[in-house]
């Protein structure tokens, strides 16, 4: 592995040059001979950071999904024609993509949310536990999403 996950990608850029403690060589903006505070884009993505931002992203997707949920309930309240229109949208290609995204977001946010709740009790905070629970969340959310669709389509389990 070229970089450890904790090392900035541009590490060699400033390490190879003489240390300009006064930052006087070159213009202020173009001077990279001084150590820069490593910002988000210079880090190799890690499981921990990717899962963290995915939790936030899936949360926003689910917030948007509330609109679809309420629209579906309103359609059911409005009558058969309205619910048929709603169902026609949900089985269209954009509708299926929306439901696929919503279902994965739901299971991911659920599993990782439980991981967060365990952290809040002070457990699983050691690095090996963080990685083990992280990969478990990835596996569980994919398995649950696939399982839900398999049962919904009648591929698995008794279609009542």
């Amino acid at each position: 592995m070229k970089y450890g996950p904790w090392e900035p990608r541009i590490a060699s850029d400033w390490q190879a040059r003489p240390f300009d403690i006064h930052g006087l060589s070159g213009s202020r903006m173009a001077n990279h001979s001084r150590p820069l505070s490593p910002h988000l884009q210079v880090y190799r993505p890690q499981l921990t950071t990717v899962l963290s931002i995915t939790h936030r992203g899936t949360g926003l997707v689910l917030s948007a999904g509330l609109v679809a949920f309420v629209a579906w309930l309103l359609a059911a309240a409005a009558g058969p024609a309205a619910l048929d229109s709603a169902n026609a949208f949900f089985v269209s290609i954009p509708g299926r993509l929306l439901l696929a995204g919503l279902s994965f977001s739901f299971f991911y946010h659920l599993c990782n949310g439980i991981r967060h709740l365990v952290w809040d009790t002070g457990h699983w905070l050691e690095i090996p536990a963080v990685y083990a629970s992280g990969w478990s969340v990835v596996a569980a959310s994919i398995i649950l999403t696939v399982a839900a669709w398999a049962v919904a389509w009648g591929l698995v389990g008794g279609a009542a």
């Binding site: 689910l62 309420v70 309240a77 009558g79 619910l83 659920l110 009542a160």
Partner: protein, 132 residues
């Protein structure tokens, strides 16, 4: 040296005790959403697998008293949890003061509208919409 205000000392008050209110309510609603969300997901999957996403079966499902009550709880809890989450995202990423306030107001009004509309729909189906 005490930093408490004279009024606070007279009234025997400490801190407002609401500093962790957002944190606690986000966790409380999260815990509630685990069973509520799982119940809704399983119900939806079973409805779909039974081929029952048409008007008659969906309204009959919503109108079942247990389902209607759980749907109302799900709507309230999900909207509450969502508004707290969106607030954190807005506070983290929206820099300008007026844009931040506007986004937070918009989010709160939108969530209140969603909660009210969703609850109205459930109650309408439960009390008036079930096919005779």
């Amino acid at each position: 040296m005490s930093r408490r205000t004279p009024l606070g000392r007279v009234l025997g008050l400490g801190s407002a005790k609401e500093g962790v209110g957002h944190w606690w309510t986000q966790r409380t609603s999260a815990v509630a959403l685990v069973p509520l969300g799982l119940w809704f997901a399983v119900s939806l999957v079973l409805l779909a697998s039974g081929g029952g996403l048409g008007y008659a079966s969906v309204t009959a499902w919503i109108a079942t008293p247990t389902h209607a009550v759980l749907l109302l709880l799900l709507l309230a809890t999900a909207c509450y949890h969502s508004v707290l989450g969106v607030q954190v995202v807005v506070e983290d990423y929206v820099g300008l003061g007026w844009a931040k306030v506007a986004s937070l107001l918009l989010s709160k009004f939108a969530h209140a509208l969603l909660a009210a509309a969703g609850m109205y729909a459930v109650l309408h189906v439960a009390f008036a919409g079930a096919p005779a």
